[in-house]
Amino acid sequence: MRSLTQRLLLAATAVLILFLGSMGLILDAAIRDSLAKAVRERLQAHVYTLLAVAEVTPDGALLMPDELPEARFSRPDSGLYARIAGQGFDWQSPSSMGENPQLPVQPLAPGEVEFLEQADIGPEEAFVLRQGLAWEVDDGDQAFVIVVAEHERVFNAQVAEFRRTLWIWIGAGAALLLLVQLWIMRWGIRPVRVLAAELDDIKRGHAERIRRAYPRELELLTESLNAFITSERENLDRYRNRLSDLAHSLKTPLAVLRAALEGRDDGGEVITQIDRMDELVGYQLKRARAAGHLTLSQPVSIERHAEQIAGSLEKVHAEKQVACSFEIDPGAAFHGERGDLLELLGNLLDNAFKWCRREVVLTAVVLPAGTALRPGIRILVEDDGPGIAEDEVERVVRRGVRGDEQVPGHGIGLAIVGEIVDMYGGRIDIGRSDLGGARVTVEFPPR
């Protein structure tokens, strides 16, 4: 079960059905009981009214009036029947004509009452109330039995009617409760959904940290997440600063050594070694500095940073009057760490500025995200210089190998770019530009 809402809803529904169902069953039974009791009382009342109108002659014969107090006794097939049987008489109510139900008249002791449910009196089941009685006549007491019966169809119809009403109400109540529950759940879970949306925004790089206020239960989580985001950033900064300090403390002595040796005739070999050391230190430190993919990072604008680097390079290469142009898709961004992008663009553009005759073109194309979370990007840097010979390409990108000894630092540039591209799961390709020089393509697929 993947959704919290689903989980809660399922549990709540099960409980609700169980509860309302058993409540319905209990109510059903209780009402049926009380209805049956009402039937019994009604039958008892009929017994009394019949007794009230019955007359016994002194010789012990039973006289019943033509007009009975309950009209249903007189109407055939009304469902309500009566029978009074004793020594020498057996009276049946007019309603008994036709269907001819068999009301049981086994003798009962005077005063004894018997109530039967689902008694088979034909043609259908009925409630039956029998009472034993005795009349005083001239020659002592005369015992007889009075029986009143009512077909159950009326009762059944009543029960069914009640049941229908009961279950309709229980059903409606359940539906209403479920709706309310659903709403409560959504309302209760809303902070979680909002948090998820915010995290998604951060992942997509639209936001930097979690900003909204959350209920107490979630606060701990959001605070930890924010702390994590900040510390990821800070740790990287701290780490970089240390590396920077390390570079500084390693390279300054090298600079001192080199400067001291440069004036001397016998310094050649040592200077070569110093340069190699410098190269190695520089390359390894740059490699260590590359951050690679950050979990929660904001997209870094290509245009703004390319502008910065080109501005810097135009200053440094002012003599050359390089015409540097950009063709950058609006909104083109690098989903990664800013320092990595600067390093990437810096090395690519620096090489281009060094080697071009006049012209450098930087192109950035957004690769649509499709089903991925973040769009990809393709960056091309071209120049109109001599280009990189095909058999040189391998050597230039190979880690730590210098492509050219004449321009200091040129060699590790592309190797570092290669490292960074690797870290972000991208690829690098070196070819020939239509401008005549080198064309370096780096591509970061959507992810």
């Binding site: 390279k251 080199r258 520089g282």
Partner: protein, 228 residues
């Protein structure tokens, strides 16, 4: 040319100062940011070389404050920190070029010369004025194609005047830009230099390239100066 060097590593600083002086620069060397900033603000500096990792005041801060105080001389950053983030930050703070340590001193000197030229408005390494052709990269002078030998001080005086051709340069200003502070300032020395320079570059007195404006200073004549 008066150069400001701010570098905290003493051996490297000494080495560079020696080398710069040998090339005819007047050098103000500082070992920390505060001292460097003071020189930069108080002395007539033509170009500065600033290490970024400095005690007391960071190189970046020094550059920013110099630019804030409207000091426009070109600045070259020396740094061991070669991350682009730091290079870009330095250049955006107002520096004009950078060099990553360790470096080849020749390259540093070439960059310094290029910066000085560029800041005076000359795009190319050769400064041309009439018959004179000064190659700032090779530090040589040719008059009508004939090479002329100059001492490094003579060269610096000529370069300074030529870079500011058409401007009146006072003796004071010339002295400040050519000599260190510890050099005994005697305006007679400048007169002697100018005299020697005139004899060397205009032995027959045909072009009269350096004019003397009484009480005001010297001025390099404006030939049809080509600014590329």
């Amino acid at each position: 040319m008066r150069i400001l060097l701010i570098e905290d590593e003493a051996p490297l600083r000494e080495e560079l100062v020696g080398r710069m002086r040998a090339e005819g620069f007047a050098v103000d060397a500082a070992g920390d940011g505060e001292e460097g900033l003071y020189y930069g603000l108080e002395y007539p500096i033509d170009v500065a070389v600033v290490d970024l990792g400095l005690p007391k005041l960071s190189g970046m801060e020094v550059i920013a404050r110099l630019r804030e105080a409207d000091r426009k001389f070109p600045i070259l950053i020396l740094t061991a920190r070669d991350a682009w983030q730091e290079k870009v930050a330095g250049l955006e703070a107002g520096a004009d070029d950078y060099l990553v340590k360790p470096f080849v001193i020749e390259e540093l000197m070439a960059r310094i010369n290029a910066l000085v030229r560029r800041s005076a408005g000359w795009a190319r390494a050769e400064l041309e004025a009439g018959p004179y052709k000064l190659d700032t990269a090779a530090q040589t002078l040719a008059v009508e194609g004939e090479p002329v030998e100059l001492t490094s001080y003579e060269y610096k005086v000529l370069e300074y005047l030529l870079l500011h051709a058409g401007e009146v340069i006072s003796k004071m200003r010339l002295t400040e830009h050519i000599y260190d502070e510890d050099f005994e300032r005697d305006s007679n020395v400048i007169e002697v230099f100018i005299g020697r320079l005139r004899r060397k570059i205009d032995p027959d007195g045909v072009w009269k390239p350096i004019e003397t404006l009484r009480g005001r200073g010297y001025r390099f004549r404006q030939f049809d100066r080509e600014r590329a």
